[in-house]
């Protein structure tokens, strides 16, 4: 049944001759309506609350303490972007934003500090290349995520991409999800490892089942997970949901949430609270019952709008020259290894398609300049046989279908624009939300901190230590989890603490979180001043190196300690806290005033926040 996208007969060629068609997510008339509404709002003809809801529904989020500016969130289903789209975003960022774009943790691309009056122009440009900002914010179904490995992952049952795209299309502008109690998130994985399925309202992992001698496609569907001020891990609805019931399952879940979700208390109205308060068993029963009702009452026409076939990529890709493993001299690298070898080791993985590799572009907390975007677009055209890239929840880009024989050329091309940094698949690739650089809710500059962690770790060569490789560091600027700190090996969320009679930017440190199908939430341990975070993580690594048992990775060690099962001298989180007590101490303010400030600030710290717009 499984159709391979790799054609055997085609001669080897550079790139593919047929680029991916324009996906047409956007609509031009929406840009004109937006421009009109902004004028009416400025003339005082639309109440502020109505305008805010409208603005958010169209993907424009208010900027930190300055409502004349917006953060424009571009919805990128599955993170998949064509070179044309990447170039368009480059131009739009130069003309209307700050000359750079930002990869979010949910595969959106964000343009910051866009003047409200220019948002319609950004939208207009996006529509030309098929992108949209529609329903990127607001109380609706947000960007549908899909693992960036889907289609190339050696462990996947099948490629979930067309399913994720079909779901995204079905719900985009769908009347049934235009006014939900709160935002709603759907994530697709490729396998049990890759994908954020346990921390979404609906998480789907592709699976197959043998039935009457035939292989049936379907999904393991998790409901009611999500990260935030209070986070929950999603529950498995049933052992196996055949593909024919995926749409009904999603529709039923959305309908339940729409009917029963809390519309009163903004702080507790995500679906995970409903599931938690109702109890999983009750919710599960209701979901299954609702699905039957949906299946009985959904018209043939409506069901046809979920069209997986039309979302399949039917282009025949050329076969790559055989190459089973990475073209490296050594299996291990060090800080002293040639830069190319280090990059291969920390940024490139083989695909299930022989001879093809997926290469990652290391960004700093998701930042990429307009000129870098243009080089990236050109590199994708020249070296990716599928001629698209996917942005990743780790705030990097994955360029897939690169031939092993062309990896070095690809690397050189990226290097010409500063895009060939190592460490994308390692602990060095720290995640950071936008923090005080643009967000109303942020208390600390998590964005800069994540970049500082990355800079320091690459400088120390920690990306080359394979025992650290599966560990992650993620930073949020407030307790809401845009930086996904709860699924990090070592996570941080920002706050403010009075220390030695001064307000200090601090982070609550969490240990032992993980993503994937067995994902668990991290456990909060202690507060660390912002300027002590890097030293503290380095101390954790030092402790690990002293204490680990043979072959135990940093992530495994941290998880053991979190569960109170540490070997050596550090058995549990209490031991860990004691061992870190020294490194988090601040000297007197007169001795080191900088230690009391946040990153990116040369003046004293004070926590300033305004109303968030995560809820419309």
């Amino acid at each position: 049944m499984k159709k391979s996208r790799v054609a055997t007969a085609n001669p080897r060629q550079k790139g593919v001759s047929v680029p991916k068609p324009n996906p047409k997510w956007g609509r031009e008339e929406e840009t004109e309506v937006f421009a009109k509404k902004v004028k009416l709002f400025r003339q005082g003809k639309i109440p502020e609350d109505d305008f805010r809801r409208f603005r958010l529904q169209h993907g424009a989020y208010g900027s930190r303490l300055h409502m004349d500016y917006s953060m424009v969130r571009i919805k990128v289903p599955g993170g998949e972007m064509t070179p044309d789209q990447i170039e368009k975003i480059a131009s739009l960022s130069e003309a209307f934003s700050i000359g750079s774009a930002h990869v979010s943790t949910r595969q959106n691309i964000q343009l910051h500090w866009v003047q409200l009056e220019d948002v319609s122009e950004v939208m207009r440009g996006l529509v030309e290349t098929g992108l949209t900002t529609r329903e990127a914010c607001g109380n609706t179904i947000r960007n549908v995520m899909c693992s960036h490995f889907a289609g190339v992952c050696p462990n996947e049952a099948f490629d979930a991409t067309p399913y994720s795209m079909a779901i995204a299309r079905f719900f985009l502008r769908n009347p049934m999800c235009q006014n939900l109690p709160r935002k709603f998130k759907i994530n697709f994985a490729c396998c049990d490892q890759h994908g954020l399925v346990r921390v979404a309202d609906i998480g789907l992992v592709p699976a197959t089942k043998e039935e009457n001698g035939a292989t049936v496609r379907g999904f393991k569907i998790y409901l009611g997970g999500g990260l935030g001020a209070a986070s929950f891990i999603g529950h498995l609805l049933e052992d196996f949901t055949p593909e024919g019931r995926v749409l009904a399952t999603c529709m039923a879940t959305v309908r339940l949430f729409d009917r029963h979700g809390n519309r009163e208390n903004m702080a507790r109205n995500r679906m995970r609270y409903l599931v938690h308060e109702m109890g999983w068993e009750k919710f599960q029963k209701m979901a299954l019952k609702e699905r039957s009702i949906v299946e009985m009452t959904t018209s043939y026409f409506t069901a046809q709008l979920f069209d997986v076939k039309s979302q399949e990529d039917t282009r025949q890709l050329p076969k790559a020259p055989r190459m089973a493993k990475l073209p490296m001299l050594n299996d291990q690298v060090t800080k002293e290894s040639p830069a190319y070898e280090r990059w291969l080791h920390t940024n490139v993985v083989p695909q299930k398609q022989e001879g093809y590799f997926t290469a990652f572009i290391t960004l700093g907390a998701g930042d990429i300049t307009a000129s870098q975007l243009r080089v990236l677009a050109s590199a994708i055209r020249d070296y990716s046989a599928e001629a698209v890239a996917r942005n990743t929840p780790q705030q990097n880009f994955a360029v897939r279908y690169v031939r092993g024989t062309e990896l070095r050329d690809f690397y050189e091309k990226l290097g010409s624009a500063g895009l060939a940094n190592p460490g994308a698949l390692t602990i060095a690739s720290a995640v950071g939300c936008s923090g005080t650089t643009s967000c109303n809710l942020a208390i600390t500059n998590s964005h800069r901190l994540a970049k500082e962690v990355q800079r320091k770790f690459l400088e120390l060569g920690l990306d080359t230590d394979d025992s650290l490789r599966d560990a992650t560091i993620k930073v949020s600027g407030c307790p809401n989890s845009c930086g996904q700190h709860e699924i990090a090996t070592v996570g941080f969320f920002g706050g403010a603490t009075r220390m030695n009679n001064s307000m200090v930017p601090t982070y609550t440190m969490l240990f032992g979180g993980s993503a994937g199908e067995q994902g668990e939430l991290g456990k909060a341990a202690m507060r660390v001043p912002a300027k002590r975070v890097i030293d503290t993580v380095l101390r954790v690594i030092e402790l690990y190196r002293q204490q680990r048992s043979e072959s135990e990775t940093l992530h495994q060690w941290v998880v053991s300690v979190t569960k109170g099962r540490g070997a050596g001298g550090i058995k549990n989180l209490e031991d860990m806290k004691a061992a870190l007590a020294q490194v988090i101490q601040l000297p007197a303010q007169e001795q080191d005033p900088d230690a009391y400030r946040d990153y990116g600030s040369d003046s004293g710290f004070s926590a300033k926040t305004a109303r968030g717009e995560c809820a419309a």
Binding site: R64, L65, S100, D118, E121, R448
Partner: protein
């Protein structure tokens, strides 16, 4: 390339007298004027770049020389030396997305040379299109030019200071967004210079520019004063973008924010966000 709109406006007079140029001159029009020896082309890049190669028949006038000779009398003297008379059509180009050319064009118009246009593209784009160049330095016989200062396109600090008390007048800051957020003249609106150009052309189409400004709720009868960081180059380009969009009353504050700050005038600042850390440099 966008030849159409500009070309239509460049209607030639039947009597053979000088052509009245549009605000932006397209390459074809310029090449035809060069062939007819009916234009003075002014290259405002550095003298060394000019010496390497330039558009045929162009004379060299580096922006620095204009800035050093900061009086209308001296500017007219330079124009006469370059063989520019009152009626000579002048087309100016640079290699800095039109900003330097715009500053020089504004200066010419300020001292009374009305028939001045910007080349629609930079020298680099001209080269990329494979259009002709030459190496030979050009001089022309000295011409006569009247001095007729046009105060209506100029603003100084005290003029700018009085804007806020006058409805119908508006200050536009042409610097990039983050510079503007950091500090600007109180009440100014930001139209970054990056907004007004597009690939292959130093200025976007008139209807596009018009729409950008209409989006901002600015009506076409408003008087707009543009400024930027130091010498009025970026804001010079914005000056012409506004003219192209159909605004009649536009002024340039050539000494811009640098002078404003040096004079200790008030500023509006925004310090509540660490926006510089979004820069990917």
């Amino acid at each position: 390339m966008r030849a159409g709109a500009a070309k239509k406006k460049a209607a030639k007079t039947s009597s053979g007298s000088a052509v009245q140029l549009p605000i932006v001159c397209d390459a074809d029009t310029l090449r035809s004027l060069v062939r007819k020896k009916a234009v003075r082309v002014v290259d405002v890049r550095k003298a060394d770049d000019y010496k390497q190669e330039h558009i045929p028949t162009a004379v060299s006038l580096p922006l620095a020389r204009v800035l050093e000779n900061d009086t209308p009398e001296k500017i007219v003297g330079i124009m006469e030396e370059l063989g520019i008379s009152d009626k000579t059509p002048v087309v100016i180009y640079d290699d800095t997305f039109g900003a330097l050319a715009a500053r020089v064009a504004w200066t010419f118009q300020y001292v009374g040379h009305i028939n001045t246009a910007l080349l629609e593209m930079t020298f680099r784009q001209w080269k990329e299109l494979g259009l002709e160049t030459e190496k030979q330095a050009r001089t022309f016989p000295k011409a006569r030019h009247l001095l007729n200062v046009n105060r209506n396109i100029y603003a100084d600090a005290s003029y700018v200071e009085n804007v806020k008390s006058q409805p119908g007048k508006l200050l536009v800051d042409s610097r990039e967004r983050l510079n503007f957020l950091t500090e600007h003249i109180p009440g100014a609106k930001n139209i970054p210079y990056t907004m007004v150009g597009s690939n292959g052309s130093i200025l976007r189409k008139a209807d596009e520019l018009k729409r950008f400004i209409e989006n901002r709720g600015i009506t076409s009868n408003a008087e707009i004063i543009t400024y930027c960081g130091s010498v009025g180059t970026l804001s010079g380009l914005t000056y012409y973008a506004l003219k192209l969009a159909g605004f009649q009353n536009v002024r340039l504050y050539p000494k811009s924010f640098k002078e404003w700050k040096a004079l200790g005038k008030p500023k509006e600042e925004f310090k509540d966000a660490a926006y510089w850390d979004l820069s990917a440099e």
